[in-house]
């Protein structure tokens, strides 16, 4: 057995973090670890090894037997200790759960939602335009758009939408500073879905409804229906995965464009460049900077031993800036062509909502650029990350 010191834990990167304010300067941190210590140990969140290089992350994702997701991919937890379906489920059970919703998220199916998405984005963009000269576009566009689009797809009643932002803020954004608040909100969210499922059960199967909740309620795994616990876990995860990520993705794209007039004008004049630009924003400013795994059998990455039972964090955001993969990795080039990035993860847990997330991002940018002739940042202190305010000066 090697001692901790021999394994390099003692003098590693004990403060490495990928949440909250740590994200302010994370790109400098990535550059440093990619160059000097592509696998290292942090003391945060109970201790974990981070993996920063693109190739190493790819390999770990292709090897779920060595890098399992249980007990949870989410570190620190999302206000619950219940394993979330399908994100925290390992093979063989994982694919049974995932299969239920795969057909709902194919690009062809997402295409059917596009007219509705366009209409929503157009209305929100026009509201921004009519709200005055200085507007918080996070509150007015980036957050409401996914709430409206995803809630309709999922089947969350419209009268419930106003409370969603608070649950997301408390569960996702306060989970490190105020874990009790996150867990309390987590219980509220769980109770909400418990009530919603009761109501849906009482209403009986409704032929007109083909939303996600209906799909989950009628689905079978191994010849049986999902239990209430399983339904709650799935609903809980979809809520957190489907709303906040996309809001961040839209906000960060607008944040970049507000600070880069040339790129803004280029996309306004050439909307066919928007899908490519979206990929570049996902690569460089992604809402999911990292996800956790647990080592199942001893292994070695970049010469570093990792022991069974240890936690590992795949730092997608660092892999996406790996100089071995991307030319000038820290430059945001909206016309970058080779852009095989890790923003949606990969392997068996590839983001189920990637086609939806992409479509929402692209449509939000298209409609916003079309409606708003010019915009710039009104407050340079607002960070690139998160779903907090993004105040823009809106001009003619």
């Amino acid at each position: 057995m090697s001692t901790e010191a021999e394994r390099g834990i003692a003098d590693n990167k004990p403060d490495f973090d990928f949440h909250g304010r740590a994200l302010d300067n994370i790109f400098d941190e990535y550059e440093e670890i990619l160059a000097k210590r592509p696998v290292g140990h942090s003391e945060k969140y109970g201790g974990f090894w981070y993996i920063a290089k693109s190739e190493d992350i790819f390999n770990a994702e292709q090897d779920p037997d060595t890098f399992a997701v249980g007990p949870s991919m989410i570190l620190p937890s999302f206000g619950t200790d219940v394993p979330l379906i399908p994100i925290d489920i390992d093979p063989p059970a994982h694919s049974d759960f995932r299969k239920i919703l795969l057909p709902m998220f194919t690009p062809m199916n997402i295409k059917k939602l596009e007219p509705g998405m366009k209409e929503t984005a157009r209305q929100l963009a026009e509201e921004v335009l009519s709200s005055g000269e200085v507007v918080d576009v996070s509150a007015k566009l980036a957050r409401p758009m996914p709430t409206i689009i995803f809630s309709r797809l999922a089947g969350y009643p419209e009268e419930d939408w106003p409370i969603f932002d608070r649950w997301i803020d408390e569960i996702i954004y306060e989970r490190t500073a105020k874990p009790e608040t996150a867990y309390a909100a987590g219980r509220e969210l769980n109770d909400y879905f418990d009530r919603l499922l009761d109501e849906r059960e009482k209403a009986g199967p409704d032929a007109a409804k083909d939303d996600l909740i209906a799909q989950l309620m009628k689905a079978e795994v191994k010849g049986r229906k999902l239990t209430r616990e399983e339904l709650l876990s799935y609903c809980y995860l979809l809520f957190l995965a489907g709303l906040d990520t996309t809001a961040w993705a839209i906000r960060s794209a607008l944040w970049y464009l507000a600070g880069n007039q040339k790129a803004q004008q280029q996309l306004r004049e050439n909307p066919d460049m928007i899908p490519g630009a979206a990929e570049e924003f996902l690569r460089t400013l992604s809402p999911v900077q990292a996800m956790a795994r647990t080592v199942k059998t001893d292994t070695v990455v970049q010469g570093q031993e990792l022991k069974a039972g240890e936690r590992v964090v795949l730092v997608f955001g660092a892999g996406n800036r790996d100089p071995e993969v991307y030319e000038e990795p820290n430059e945001i080039k909206i016309d970058r062509e080779n852009n095989r990035h890790l923003a949606f993860g990969g392997g068996i847990h590839r983001c189920l909502g990637s086609n939806l997330g992409r479509a929402e991002m692209v449509i939000a940018m298209e409609e916003f650029l079309k409606a708003v002739p010019h915009f710039e940042r009104a407050n340079d202190a607002e960070p690139w990350h998160g779903v907090g305010p993004l105040t823009l000066k809106i001009g003619a």
Binding site: K99, L102, P103, F105, T106, P107, M108, P275, P323, E324, V325, Y326, E327, E328, K333, R336, E337, N338, N339, R340, H341, L342, F344, G346, G347, I348, R350, S354, N355
Partner: protein, 78 residues
């Protein structure tokens, strides 16, 4: 380049192939990619090369050179 195909064991349904080269790739009911029958020899077309380079799972392979990911795979350019 020889005939191309999507390796079903690697493909995880990111649909980048279809987004970048819809004339060569189609997506099945569960979201997985495959080469449209008759388009196996389009591996040298620009859009198809882009799809190969952008497939996150490196799942688009060349038949003649089985198991090795199709060309351009490791090139770090942009």
């Amino acid at each position: 380049m020889g005939e191309i195909y999507v390796d079903g064991a690697r493909c995880q349904g990111h649909a980048r192939c279809w987004a970048l080269a819809p004339e060569t790739f189609e997506i099945d009911e569960e979201g997985y990619g495959k080469v449209i029958p008759g388009r196996e020899n389009s591996g040298d077309e620009l859009n198809v090369r882009k799809a190969i380079r952008n497939c996150p799972e490196r799942a688009i392979l060349e038949r003649s050179d089985d198991e090795a990911p199709a060309k351009n795979e490791e090139v770090a350019t942009s």
